[in-house]
Symmetry: C2
Subunit: 205 residues, 2 copies
Amino acid sequence: MVTAEKPTRIQKVRREEILEAALEEFSRNGFKGASINKIAARAGMSTPRLLYHFEGKEALYRALLKSTLLRWLGPLELLKDAGDPVEEVCAYIRRKLEMSRAYPRESRLFAQEILLGVPLGKQEVFAPLREIFDAKIALLQRWMDEGRITRVDPHHLMYSIWATTQHYADFAPQIAELSPQKMPVLFEAAEAFLLPMYRRTLEVR
Amino acid sequence: MVTAEKPTRIQKVRREEILEAALEEFSRNGFKGASINKIAARAGMSTPRLLYHFEGKEALYRALLKSTLLRWLGPLELLKDAGDPVEEVCAYIRRKLEMSRAYPRESRLFAQEILLGVPLGKQEVFAPLREIFDAKIALLQRWMDEGRITRVDPHHLMYSIWATTQHYADFAPQIAELSPQKMPVLFEAAEAFLLPMYRRTLEVR
DNA sequence: CAGCATTTTTACCAATGGGTAAAAATTCAT
DNA sequence: ATGAATTTTTACCCATTGGTAAAAATGCTG
C-alpha cells in the first residue's frame, strides 16, 4: 500500500485517473451502488491496482468528496461585500446555475450524500461548509440591517437559492422529460426566471 | 409464487407490511443500497417469504413507486381554478411543504430515483406525472394570459416550487446541521419565507 | 373434517462485492 | 548499471446479495 509520505509522480497521475472514474461512478450510482471494480475498470486498471492507491472504497469516496468540495463551495466564497447587494446575490445565483450546468456530477455527488443522511463525509463536507456558510449568512444579515436588501430569513434565502439552482443538475432527468426547452435554452430560461424572482424578493421598495 | 388473481386477505396484509418496510429501506439507502434481506427482516419475515409476495427486488421497488405516487402527486392535483390564482399557488406551496414535513421518505424515494437517472420507474413515475403536469402548466399559462398572475415561464415556476419545497425533505440533514431553528419552527420559517417570495413574484403590479 | 390451495419454512446456490498476499515488473537514486 | 523502493499483476478469499426448489405448515371450502 501507498505510504503516507508525499505522493510520487506516478501516484499523482493514478489518483487523478481514479478520482475521475470515481466521480463518474459514484455520482451515477451513489456510494453503495458504485463498485470499486467498475471504477477500476473505468480508470483502465485492475482492482488491486486501484486499492494500492486508495486504502479502500470508503477512503476513495472520502478523498473524492474532499477533492470536489472546493469547486462546489467556490461560488459561495465569491459572494462578498462589493457593489449592490442585490446584484451580488444575483451574481451568486448565476454562478451556482453555471455550476449546475457545467459540473452536474459534483452536484449529484453531494446531493446523494446529503439525501442518504450524510453517512460518510460528515467532517469532509459539513465542517468546511459550516464555516463559510455562517460567514455569508452574517453578510446577508448585515445587508438587511443596513436596509440594502429586504429583511427575510437569511438561512431560508440561502436554502432557496441552493434548491432552485442545484435542482437543474440533480433533477435533470425530470426536467429533460417535462421541458419543451432543450439544453442551451433551458438554462437561459432558468436564469431568466430566477433572477427576477430573487430581485423582487430582495429589492427594497 | 403469488398468482396474478385478485389478492387474498393475507396477501393484502403482507404486501402492506412489506411495502412499509421497503419504503423505509429504499428511501434510506436507495435502490442499490437497500437489500431485500433487510427489508424482509424489517417486515419481520424471511426473504423467501417476501419473495413469495413480490416477484423480486425490482418488482417490489416498482410496486412501491406506484403505491406512493398518488400521495406524491396529491398536492398538485388540488391546484385548480377557484378563487385568487396567487392564493391558489400559495396553497399549493403550503401543501407541498406539508408533504415534505409529514412524508419525507416518499420525497426522498422519488428524489433518489430521479437523481440516479430514473433507471426504473420510467413509466411508473413519468407517465402519470406528465399528464397532470401538462394540465397544470396550461392552467398557469391561462392565468397569465388573463393577466391574473405575472407572466413568467410556467415550467420554471413549477420547478422552482418543487425545488424549494422538496428541499426541506431531501436535504433535511444539511438543513438540520446549518439551521439554528429546530423542527416545528423550521417549517414555519420556511413557509414564512417562501410564501412572500412567490407572492411578490406572481402578484400583478 | 377431508382435501385442495395458499402460505411459510428450510436448505440451498451462483454471482458479485470488497479486499488480501505475495510474486513479478518497473522506476528511481547513487 | 545495480540495489532498493515503488508499482503492478496474479491468484486467491470470505461475506453478502438476489434468488430458487421443495418440503412443511396453515388456511379455506364443501
